[in-house]
C-alpha cells in the first residue's frame, strides 16, 4: 500500500476507527485535540458514536458506560485531563471492562505547557488512580508504530477485559510522517457474554466495582493480580537496536526512543559500542529481557523527557550490577542526540574509572563534538 502523510493525532484516530472503535468520548486539550476533531469528522459519517463530553471526568465515565454494553469505546486526552480520569480508570479496571485511552503527554506539573513530555509515566504505568492494578501501557515511537499499536488495542482490551493505554507525547501527536494505514477490522456482531444487553431470557448481568466485605474484594484483587500475571507472561513488547555487541545500553521509550536511535548511530560512527533498548509495553515492562541485557553490558543510560521516572524501574532491574545513569529534559524540551551523547560519555567515563581504567584518549564526544 502506498504511504500517506498523516499527523500523529489523526493517524491514531483513523487507526482506532479501523481497529473497530465504535464509540469515542473526549474533551479538547492540546496537544491531542486533532484526535477528537478527526473523530468528529469521521464517526458521524461511519454511523458511529462521537460525543464531545463536558469534561474528561465525564468522558471517562461515558467510556465506562459504553464499555459495559460491550462496545469498543475509547477516549483521548493529555496529562491534566488524564489526571482527572484517575478515579474513572480505577473503576473501569475494577469492573473489568475493556477500554482504550490515549494520553498525548504534555509538560507538567500543573497547567505546565503544551510541549511534549513523558511526565505521565508514573501516573499511567505505576497505577492510574487508587488500588492495585495496571493498564497495558503501549508507548509508540513513530506514527506508524502508534497506528500499529492502537490497531491491536481493542483486541488486547477485550481479551483481558482491561484498559489499554497509548502513551505518547505531544510531538508524536503533532508531527506528520509517511505511514501505511491498515484496513478496517472485522468484529463479530455479537456482544461478549459478560456485556449488558438486557436481561432477556437470562439472569440479570451486573457490572460493579463494589465489593462489600474484605474477602470479596480480596478475591477480586487476586483475580486481577492473576490477570496481570498472565498479561505479563504474554504481552511484553520491546525493540532493540545494535545490542548484539553492545558494551553500553541506552534505554528510552517513545519519542526519546527514536531520538536515541540517532544518538546510537552517531555514537557507533564514533566507535562507541552502544545499543538501544526500547520498551514498547511500559506495562508489562520487559523486565527479564532488560535484566538479561544488563548482565552483558557495562553501563546503562536511561533517557527520558521527565525527571527520571522509568529510570527508577531500570535501576531496579539492573540491581546495582552496573552503573545506571540518567539524562533527561523536562518541561517540553526534547532531549536530542546532543543531550544524550554527552551523558553517554559521562557514563562511559564513570564505568572506566570505576573499573580502574584511565579514560582512554579518544572518546566519543571528543570526536563528535
Amino acid at each position: 500500500m502506498a504511504k500517506e502523510l498523516w499527523k500523529g493525532n489523526e493517524a491514531l484516530a483513523e487507526a482506532a476507527l479501523r481497529a473497530g472503535a465504535e464509540a469515542y468520548f473526549g474533551y479538547p486539550i492540546t496537544p491531542q485535540t486533532e484526535l477528537l476533531e478527526h473523530m468528529s469528522r469521521r464517526m458521524p459519517k461511519l454511523g458511529l458514536t462521537f460525543l464531545q463530553a463536558e469534561s474528561e471526568l465525564a468522558s471517562i465515565n461515558m467510556v465506562y458506560g459504553a464499555a459495559t454494553v460491550g462496545a469498543r469505546a475509547m477516549t483521548s486526552s493529555s496529562s491534566p485531563g488524564i489526571s482527572l480520569m484517575q478515579e474513572g480508570l480505577s473503576y473501569i479496571a475494577a469492573s473489568e471492562v475493556p477500554a482504550v485511552v490515549v494520553d498525548i503527554m504534555r509538560g507538567g506539573p500543573g497547567l505546565g505547557n503544551i510541549q511534549p513530555s513523558q511526565g505521565d509515566y508514573f501516573q499511567m504505568v505505576k497505577t492510574a488512580g487508587h488500588g492495585d492494578y495496571h493498564a497495558i501501557v503501549l508507548a509508540p515511537s513513530t506514527i506508524q508504530e502508534a497506528i500499529d499499536l492502537i490497531y491491536d488495542s481493542f483486541e488486547l482490551a477485550f481479551k483481558y477485559r482491561t484498559i489499554v493505554t497509548i502513551l505518547a507525547d505531544g510531538s508524536l501527536g503533532q508531527m506528520m510522517e509517511p505511514v501505511e494505514m491498515p484496513e478496517f477490522k472485522e468484529w463479530p456482531e455479537e456482544r461478549p457474554g459478560w456485556a449488558l444487553t438486557g436481561a432477556k431470557g437470562r439472569e440479570p448481568h451486573t457490572i460493579s466495582s463494589l465489593y462489600l466485605g474484605a474477602e470479596n474484594l480480596e478475591k477480586l484483587n487476586l483475580r486481577l493480580q492473576k490477570k496481570l500475571a498472565e498479561i505479563k507472561a504474554n504481552e511484553v513488547r520491546y525493540e532493540t537496536l545494535m545490542t548484539d555487541d553492545a558494551e553500553f545500553l541506552i534505554v528510552a521509550f517513545g519519542t526519546v526512543g527514536r531520538i536515541a536511535q540517532s544518538a546510537v548511530r552517531q555514537a557507533r560512527e564514533n566507535g562507541v559500542k552502544v545499543g538501544l533498548f526500547r520498551p514498547i509495553t511500559l506495562w508489562p515492562f520487559a523486565e527479564e529481557e532488560l535484566m538479561a541485557m544488563t548482565r552483558r553490558v557495562r553501563g546503562v543510560l536511561v533517557a527520558e523527557m521527565n525527571a527520571g521516572q522509568m529510570f527508577e524501574d531500570v535501576k531496579a532491574i539492573a540491581q546495582g550490577r552496573i552503573p545506571v545513569q540518567f539524562t533527561g529534559r523536562m518541561g517540553g524540551t526534547i532531549p536530542l542526540p546532543d543531550d544524550i551523547l554527552p551523558a553517554l560519555d559521562t557514563l562511559i567515563d564513570s564505568v572506566r574509572s570505576r573499573n580502574g581504567n584511565k579514560p582512554e584518549p579518544t572518546r566519543a564526544r571528543e570526536v563528535s563534538a
Binding site: A23, E54, L57, N61, M62, G65, T68, G198, A199, S208
Partner: protein, 270 residues
C-alpha cells in the same frame, strides 16, 4: 439470598386465596433480594415504583439501570434488570455512554441528592443540556445517607446534620438548591417534576410521574427527571412514620411537589 417461606396470618374466617384475585404482588422487575436499607427508608418504596413501571411498560428485558454511590449503591442488585454501578455523581455520564452505544436499551439512573446535586452536578446538567434520552430518578432525602448523615446541598436551613452540627447556616453554607427547577430550564429535558413519598396519595402520584419519565425516553423526547422526596429515618433520627411527617411539614414547603416541565407529547396522553 434465601427468603423464608411466606407466613400468612390467617384470619378467623379463613380466606381461600385461590378464590381471590391478586391485587398487588412484587413486580417482576424488583428482585426478590432483601435490601440493606434501614427500616422504613423510602428508598425501598421508590425502588418498588420503578419496578412496577418497568413491568407495566414491558421493558424489563431491555432495561439497564445505573446505580449511584449513596445508600442506593446496591440498586443494581435490587432490580431484575441488567445494571451497573457508577462512580459517585457520574451516573448520568455513564448512562450517556450506555444509551449512545446501545440506543435500543432503556436506561435509567437512580441517584441521591448528594450524588446528583453535589458531586455530580455537572454530569446531570450536561446530560440534561444534551437531552440524553434517559430517565433519572433523583431521591432527595436532604442528607448524605450512606456516609452517616452529613449536610447535602439540599439540607434544610437550620437542619442539624453531622457536618452542620450547629444547623445549616444559609449565610455560610448556602440555601437549599432547587436542582429540578433549574434543570427543567434545559432544552433537552422533556420531563422534570418533583414528587414525594410522604403519603399514599403522593406515592401514587410519584409512580405516575416515573412512568411518564420512562415514556419520555421510549418516545425519544429527551431526558425525564423525577425528583422524589424521601426519608432518612436513621440520620434524621426520627422513626419512619415521623419521617414521613417531616417530609410533609418541613420538606414540602421548601421543595413543593410540582411539574416544572412536561413535554407536549406527554401532556397529550394524560
Amino acid at each position: 439470598m434465601a427468603i423464608a417461606e411466606p407466613i400468612t396470618q390467617i384470619a378467623p374466617d379463613e380466606p381461600k386465596l385461590e378464590e381471590m384475585e391478586i391485587i398487588y404482588q412484587r413486580p417482576e422487575a424488583v428482585a426478590e433480594t432483601y435490601t440493606h436499607y434501614c427500616p422504613g427508608c423510602t428508598h425501598g418504596i421508590i425502588h418498588r415504583l420503578v419496578g412496577e413501571v418497568i413491568d407495566e411498560l414491558g421493558v424489563r428485558e431491555r432495561t439497564i439501570g445505573v446505580s449511584p454511590v449513596g445508600c442506593a449503591v446496591f440498586a443494581y442488585r435490587y432490580f431484575n434488570t441488567d445494571g451497573v454501578e457508577a462512580a459517585h455523581g457520574r451516573a448520568p455520564a455513564m448512562a450517556t455512554g450506555i444509551k449512545r452505544a446501545a440506543p435500543d436499551k432503556v436506561v435509567f439512573t437512580y441517584q441521591g441528592d448528594g450524588d446528583l446535586a453535589s458531586i455530580g452536578g455537572n454530569e446531570i446538567l450536561h446530560a440534561c443540556a444534551r437531552g440524553e434520552n434517559i430517565t433519572v430518578i433523583f431521591v432527595n432525602n436532604a442528607v448524605y445517607g450512606m456516609t452517616g448523615g452529613q449536610m447535602a446541598p439540599t439540607t434544610l436551613p437550620g437542619m442539624v446534620t453531622t457536618s452542620s452540627p450547629y444547623g445549616r447556616d444559609v449565610k455560610l453554607q448556602g440555601a437549599p438548591i432547587h436542582i429540578t427547577e433549574m434543570l427543567a430550564m434545559m432544552p433537552g429535558v422533556a420531563y422534570a417534576v418533583r414528587r414525594s413519598t410522604h403519603s399514599v396519595a403522593e406515592i401514587r402520584k410519584t409512580k405516575k410521574a416515573i412512568k411518564l419519565a420512562f415514556e419520555a425516553q421510549l418516545k425519544g423526547l429527551g431526558l425525564g427527571l423525577v425528583e422524589v422526596l424521601s426519608t432518612c429515618p436513621t440520620n434524621w433520627r426520627l422513626d419512619p412514620n415521623e419521617s414521613l411527617n417531616f417530609i410533609r411539614d418541613n420538606m414540602v414547603p421548601i421543595y413543593p411537589p410540582g411539574d416544572f416541565k412536561v413535554h407536549d407529547e406527554l401532556k397529550k396522553r394524560r
